[in-house]
Amino acid sequence: MNWLESFVFSQKILGMNARNLSYIKPYNYRKWVRLVDNKIKFKKELQKHNIPTPKLLATVRSYEKLNEFDYTKLPKSFVLKPTSGFGGEGIIVIFGEDKKKTADGERQWVKTKGVKLSETMIHNHMSNILDGTYSRTNSPDVAFFEERIKLNKSFKHLAYKGIPDIRVIVFNRIPVMAMIRIPTKESDGKANLHLGGIGVGIDMATGVTTNAIMREQFIDTIPGTEINLAGIRIPYWNTILDIAIRTADVTKLGFTGVDIAIDRDAGPVVLEANARPGLAIQIANLAPLKERLEKVKGLKVKTIKRAIRLAKDLFGGEIEEEIEEITGRQVIGLIEEITLIGKNNQKQNVQAKIDTGAGKTSIDESLAIALGYEDVLRHMKTFHIKSVLTLDEVNSLSKDKIWQQIEEHPDIIGVSKVRSSHGYSYRPIIYIQVKVGNEIFETKANIITRTGLKYPIILGENSLKRFIIDPRK
């Protein structure tokens, strides 16, 4: 690829300038940005719309409320968070309650690494949160308790301490790109990429992971292990896309990153939504985001089902390419846009039906004419063969060795007797040049002397040996 092509391609990548100017500014109104930045308010909004999210257990807004706080209402396991926290600071995860009370008769809980926390210690932590120790601007903050998410079985071997989460970028109601973020030893159990978490791109169509990055460098396995990061199937993929779209609807943000974790019991739950999603997701997916955003800009998508369909159709395909790399064969769908190259090099772009049930490839009369085989048709007409024949008629044609006369034409390489639901037909076979995707090859095709077919060409078994057919495509 020369530098000019590289430059043109690089314009499909979403940079900071374009993100802020062309997507955040026009699509994310400040009022709605404030809603997602306020974790408690946003959580309540999600619950109102029946979107699963870790349950809010309690909030503490002031020192008065802190002093009145009733510790008996805390469950055995929970998470304590600052409302305006960032980067995972100030979050305490409690895994269980210690059976023994403290000497002062207080309840006590166990957090990571088996460290014990008494009521007084939790009180002090809340006091720090209220002081604003962990808030973005160090201004007074609100503390809240929420349900603890339990690690899903299929992620057990992946995550170090924390919970992996799935970031889905939703633009104009359509999920455009996704990655899974996995906490590591280096990130201290947090999934944030800039803290050293792993980001793995996800194929939108299948929910299977593709490339992994850590600190923006490509990796194959989780550092220090043999665990492969590519090819992991994300469970609940359709539900995740559905929830991401519904969450984006609740945020009223046009361009948002929705973070979803998978709870062992509850399944996918929304952690938060982000009005300024990061750009590293492009590296994890090895795909430019701006191109995808431009593709769905202005589309009117009424139903969630349609939005999911669009996301899968438009932005899936990484996996197919991988299959192509392994098998050396291209993946095609049931209907493909192909190019036919005619006798005098005239090109015809047509929609082809891919039909593994048909033994042979056939093209219709008008297409044959367009490709320069008019003379073949003229030659056929001289034999006055009906387009639909009975078995007896076919047999008598064969007995008369009509095919020998037909094959006298230089373009005709044979005659085929085709049985269809209507009856039998006698068709001339010619060679045609076909281009499917990047493959150009020559194949035999018979000409149907009957028009009114939905697709001017049906690629049958004899032309499909070099392809893998995926009916979903």
């Binding site: 590289s6 990548i13 980067g87 492009q282």
Partner: protein, 213 residues
């Protein structure tokens, strides 16, 4: 404009003051270009600007020394304070104060190396450089040590290049005698404010996506 500037100077306003005010938009434009086109994040726009002016006043060599010394001292103090449970503002107060006190050592060093420029430099210029410490420590807490160091280095590079521009007398004279040039600078800043293209740093950051194509 000439008459206006002469009037100011006849009434005791130093040429330096007029120069700094006139150069301000140009330096601001320079930092905007460095951010939008090259991808220098630094610490916003105010910090690199004010440090540029401080560097110009104190002299490049000593300015950069103070810059580095204050960041090192602040990092050490923060490290020592990490075990003490203390709120944000009081902690910052301690870090800043100890960094300020460490300037006594720098002054002694200035005396030993016979730098009258540095020894007699206005203390305000030195204090301005120290205010960088708050941004630095803040970045350490929010984004981690690595990012804070990267941002500091970027700030230092911007301020050094800015210093180079500030000390170009031809440019100073050009703006002094043709102040309307500032209007062009404003147009440039507006243009940069609408620039949607990739930053140079992003071509590097996303090179794998491009080469994978």
């Amino acid at each position: 404009m000439d008459i206006f500037f002469s009037y100011l100077m006849n009434n005791g306003v130093p040429r330096e003051t007029i120069d700094i005010l006139l150069m301000f938009p140009i330096m601001a434009g320079f930092i905007v270009a460095a951010r939008q086109i090259v991808g220098f994040k630094a610490f916003g726009i105010y910090t690199p600007l004010i440090i540029t002016f401080a560097l110009t006043e104190i002299g490049f060599k000593y300015g950069v020394s103070i810059f580095i010394v204050s960041l090192v001292v602040a990092s050490i103090v923060r490290y020592l304070l990490r075990k003490i449970r203390i709120l944000y503002l009081p902690k910052m107060a301690l870090i800043l104060s100890i960094t300020a006190l460490s300037m006594f050592l720098s002054l002694v060093w200035g005396i030993f190396s016979d730098s009258t420029v540095f020894v007699q430099a206005s203390i305000y210029q030195i204090l301005i450089i120290i205010t960088l410490v708050e941004k630095f420590i803040n970045a350490q807490m929010e984004k981690g040590y690595r990012t804070a160091v990267v941002l500091s280095i970027e700030t230092l590079i911007l301020a050094s290049l800015g210093n180079l521009i500030m000390t170009t007398t031809q440019l100073r004279d050009l703006v002094f005698y043709n102040p309307w040039i500032i209007l062009i600078v404003f147009a440039g800043i507006i243009f940069l404010g609408r620039y949607e293209g990739l930053r140079i740093s992003e071509y590097i950051r996303f090179r794998k996506i491009i080469s994978n194509q």
